[in-house]
């Protein structure tokens, strides 16, 4: 079953082309890495899947509906560059707000579950304005997963994390994989992407420069594709 389908997908920002007529299928239950140099269109693609932006032309569907539709938005969890947290609210309140906004049944119990998963139970009543980057990122991931979405989009989630926090996040992502969640991971870390993903797409200037969906990804092939995309970009 296909979780995300993009056809002739194009996104323009004025005269700048963010994505240039791309076709993409992401299988349900798979982990897809989206790689590419800065400005390749990785985050734009992720934001279109998340329903945060509309395509300039072409279509993007999540589980058979337009990605922008509210039912599609309910199926997708998004963990972006920024934490999306309110510094005046505590960790528990941030989670409770996300749970209420997304109409999570039994919100309080789900919040406590997510606090425990993120290892933040002891810091639950502290305002997030005083959190370290690692703590804020862990909470941000918990917020993104509050309604146990079928599809989880991660936009460079390892940025700013120390080794322990990174390992913890990898563990969490592995857990999601085992629970048949569809993961779409934007990253610059080719080795990590090859370790986590079973499909990969390398973007260059809004176009797909390389695809790999063979299951076990070969890090060296991906590295070469990534380097080629970056080199051509520099040239």
């Amino acid at each position: 079953m296909t979780a995300v389908v993009a056809r002739e997908l194009e996104k323009r920002f004025g005269s700048t082309v963010g994505l240039n007529r791309i076709d993409l299928d992401i299988q349900a239950g798979s982990t897809t890495a989206i790689l590419g140099p800065n400005g390749a269109g990785k985050s734009t693609l992720l934001r279109l899947i998340a329903g945060l932006a509309r395509p300039s032309s072409g279509t993007i569907e999540v589980s058979g509906r337009s990605a922008h539709h509210r039912i599609s938005r309910a199926r997708v969890g998004f963990i972006g560059h920024a934490t999306g947290l309110y510094p005046e609210l505590t960790a528990r309140e941030n989670l409770l707000f996300a749970a209420r906004l997304r109409s999570v049944p039994n919100a309080s119990a789900r919040v406590e579950e997510q606090l425990a998963e993120a290892g933040l139970t002891r810091a639950a009543d502290r305002r997030t304005g005083g959190f370290s980057r690692g703590m804020a990122q862990r909470l941000s991931i918990a917020v993104g997963l509050i309604d146990d979405p079928e599809i989880v989009l991660l936009d460079e989630p390892f940025t700013g994390l120390d080794r322990t926090a990174s390992d913890r996040l990898v563990e969490r992502l592995m857990g999601l994989r085992q629970n048949d969640r569809t993961l779409v991971l934007v990253s610059h870390d080719v080795t990590l992407a090859a370790k986590l993903a079973d499909a990969a797409v390398v973007l260059r200037r809004g176009k797909i420069a390389h695809r790999d969906s063979g299951g076990d990804l070969d890090p060296s092939t991906l590295e070469n594709a990534y380097t080629a995309a970056s080199d051509r970009d520099v040239a």
Binding site: L52, A53, I71, V76, E93, R100
Partner: protein, 221 residues
Amino acid sequence: MNALLAVLWKDLLTEWRSRDRAIAMLLFSMLMVVIFHFSLPGGATTATRAYAPGLLWVAYVFAALLGLGRSFAIELENDAIEGLARAPVDRGWVLLGKTIANLLILGFVQAVTACIFALVFEMDLLPIALELIGVVALGSIGLCSVGTFFAAIAVRTRLREVMLPLLALPFYTPVLIAASRATNALFETGSVPFEPIQFLIVTDASYLIVSFILSDFVLDE
């Protein structure tokens, strides 16, 4: 409805903790009242009191613009606006939740400003307090509904502080005319004519409905 209540709860709690919007709005509107008092010839005379409704609404509208601008600026911090945009509901509920939060914060600022106003201009507003609350509430619904809508648009623009008044003020004009006419009649006769009230109700309803319908587009990138 859940989304509306969630946004309302979050906005009021955030404001209660920081108090930055209410204090800024309050200081601004109080300063305006004091300046009006000292700039008008003769201070609190019958002649200057004739200007009172207009002056009161000028203070209210600029305080509202100040607060409305901030209401979406706090969503930009840490890109929390993405969470709102991704809510799996009609985005109109999100916008309505913010509108009600803005209305309550503005209502608090308006109440304190009216007290200072009565004190400075030596006016007894107590006998007409209920009617005044009604007129101010109707006027404020118009200001906050269209103001919140445009604040959501302006927040993603480069010149958001300038953009919000530019977008909102033309739509504020009919509300302000009707609200100051009703307030004027209230101050002069102690009763409110139906015509401006009717106009305010129709304008408020139109602004709320149009904002709700178009809300799906304003939170997009």
